[in-house]
């Protein structure tokens, strides 16, 4: 029975994996880049200037002044002074539900200090944020559709991990095992090794990814517990935090100086530990000023709430109100990794990269395992399709991402809808890779796309050199490692592509038997 169980779990792992591997690959590539989203932003907005630290309370004053001019009647203001990575510059944000209802209006600006004037976008770009958003929204899908698709993919990833664990024959005996140049054995070893070594990360990232989707498609536990009374449920946040519900009074009243209120937060939490300020119903009698503390893990952190007209402290919350929410919040915090410093951020990036490789090796192993023993045998459309789709996805998506960066440098600065065109270039590049993968012989397609990737990666620092002044010679001599790393990573990916291309082009030599590996003792059930 034990053997039967493992066989059926291998079967499930194989097929859920195969159907969703390309989507998951896309999710992992864009999500991994998302760990460096604001760094990519910096690279894609060379005119934007480096992060400039500025005095906290004068930043708040400048933010308050700007919002008072642009959005005096907003429902919420958010002011986040520059804090390095997360907010490279002072950021002001407002939103408002329009009088007649409908979608919220909002405004979002970066201000340069000390004058508090808005920073103009010279080069319209989606930046790293667009890449990061793709990992849970896809692109080109209307409304919430992409979100639903990615939520389903995440669930399948979760099933894939669970079945993968139980299907693995000897996790501990193979803990350090990677057998080189042994055909399909090597691919399976690599897939297993990458999966086992990153297992805590994979479990965390997938389960927390599911938590993000709770509201979307798992609302019934909450609804049912509240007797399907949606109105009661909508107050759940105030129930959790034991907050008062504030509503607009309609009587206008002047707002106190936000900076002086924030001083109380600095006194309590220490210098540099106030992440930002939210003002609810500014210029109203019931205005509230909420200070948010810099969080360790997760989206929920300590807050202090003040009366907006008197500046009097009304209430405080501390951390997570209960253990279950703390667990969920910590997982979400770990997923986002906002707390990570440079070392941990690179580790996150590495974990993501290993995840990408895990999915890629899994997809390739499916093909290698089913590779026909002789070239004459008929393999069918499905197999061929998967083989070529693998090329177009695994190599093609990486090419597409680099094309996105090229587009950022080469598209005319004054092009209409420039940010959209960057993304169009990325997906057109990807489409070209798919077409190329389908019309070329398989081995040739792999090699050629590896060379294309290498060329584009090596070209990127050169284009950067020709079009901007944040090229390697400047960034390295100034010790600007954030921007230098971008070009260096591009070169590293290029080198990896060259290595892969050389390895693969050896297979092109005739009389080579690499493609006709002997069949190893594998359970026949997973052959499907």
């Amino acid at each position: 029975m034990n053997g039967m169980f493992r066989q059926s779990m291998t079967w499930l792992h194989t097929w859920t994996g195969l159907v969703f591997c390309w989507l998951l690959y896309f999710m992992f590539v864009t999500g991994t880049l998302g760990y460096f989203d604001t760094e990519i932003d910096q690279w894609m907005k060379p005119e934007f200037g480096a992060s400039a630290p500025a005095d906290f309370s004068s930043s708040l004053a400048a933010g308050q002044q700007r919002l008072a001019e642009t959005a005096p009647a907003a429902d919420n203001w958010f002011i986040n002074p520059a804090n390095g990575r997360e907010y490279p510059h002072l950021r002001v944000f407002w939103n408002k539900v329009p009088e007649g209802g409908g979608d919220r209006e909002f405004g979002d600006e970066f201000l340069s200090m000390p004058h508090g004037s808005p920073i103009e976008e010279v080069r319209e770009t989606g930046g790293g944020q667009v890449l990061y958003r793709m990992h849970y929204l896809l692109h080109y899908f209307p409304g919430q559709m992409g979100y639903y698709i990615m939520a389903i993919a995440t669930m399948l990833m979760f099933i894939g991990i669970m079945t993968g664990i139980v299907a693995h024959k000897k996790i501990f005996a193979d803990f350090f095992t990677f057998r080189w140049a042994k055909g399909q054995r090597s691919w399976l070893d690599m897939h297993n090794l990458l999966a086992v070594s990153t297992l805590p990360f994979q479990l965390m990232i997938t389960y927390s990814g599911l938590i993000f989707t709770v509201v979307l498609w798992m609302p019934f536990v909450a609804l049912g517990t509240y007797g399907f009374d949606i109105k009661a449920l909508s107050n759940i946040q105030t129930e959790i935090f034991d907050q008062e519900v504030v509503e607009r009074s309609g009587t206008s009243a002047p707002l106190v100086d936000v900076g002086s209120v924030a001083q109380q937060g600095i006194d309590k939490w220490g210098e540099g530990n106030v992440r930002g300020v939210q003002v609810q119903f500014p210029n109203d009698q019931n205005a509230r000023i909420v200070l948010q503390r810099k969080a360790d893990f997760g989206p929920i952190s300590d807050t202090m709430t003040f009366d907006g007209t008197t500046g009097e402290l009304l209430s405080e919350t501390q951390g997570y109100p209960n253990a279950a929410l703390g667990f969920a919040g910590t997982l979400i915090g770990l997923h986002e990794g906002l707390f990570a410093g440079p070392l941990l951020r690179w580790l996150y990036f590495l974990m993501g990269t290993l995840g990408i490789a895990m999915i890629a090796t899994g997809a390739i192993y499916w093909c290698v395992k089913r590779k026909p023993k002789t070239y004459a045998s008929d393999v069918g459309f499905g197999y061929r399709f998967v083989e070529h789709l693998n090329v177009g996805t695994i190599a093609g998506l990486l090419i597409a991402v680099v094309v996105y960066f090229w587009a950022n440098r080469l598209l005319a600065i004054d092009l209409v809808d420039r940010a959209d065109w960057e993304v169009h270039c990325m997906f057109l590049g990807w489409l070209a890779c798919f077409v190329h993968a389908l019309i070329r012989p398989l081995d040739r397609a792999w090699v050629e796309q590896c060379w294309a990737l290498a060329a584009l990666c090596f070209g990127l620092p050169i284009v950067n050199f020709l079009t901007t002044d944040i090229h390697l010679m400047n960034t390295l001599s100034q010790g600007n490692w954030v921007l230098a790393s971008f070009d260096l990573v591009a070169i590293a990916v290029g080198l990896a592509a060259v290595y892969a291309g050389r390895l693969l082009s050896r297979k092109l030599v005739p009389n080579d038997t690499v493609g006709v590996e002997a069949v190893y003792e594998e359970s026949p059930a997973s052959a499907g």
Partner: protein
């Protein structure tokens, strides 16, 4: 401190790796004796636990364990690929 955590992790994982027959053979060309296996395990597990304690002590529970997990992955892969490399040189 993370350098120390990483070095301890490497030490522990290499010890555990060598306590396995397959990998001992890759390095020394002989099977691992029972007494040496016991010794290597006696080094490996406590050192892994020790490095976790060092991490938690230096960075706190949350950050410490996160960092530990990440470095564990790196150390484990490094160990595995070194074994592959040594094994290939042997044969």
């Amino acid at each position: 401190m993370y350098v120390l955590v990483f070095l301890l992790l490497m030490l522990g994982l290499v010890a555990l790796c060598l306590s396995m027959n397959r990998h001992h053979r890759q390095v020394f060309s002989t099977s691992v004796s029972a007494s040496r296996q016991r010794l290597l395990r006696l080094i490996g597990y406590p050192v892994l636990i020790l490095s976790a304690i060092v991490a938690v002590n230096a960075y706190g529970v949350g950050l410490g364990l996160t960092l530990y997990t990440g470095l564990f992955t790196v150390a484990m892969l490094l160990c595995a690929f070194t074994m592959t490399f040594l094994g290939a040189k042997k044969s």
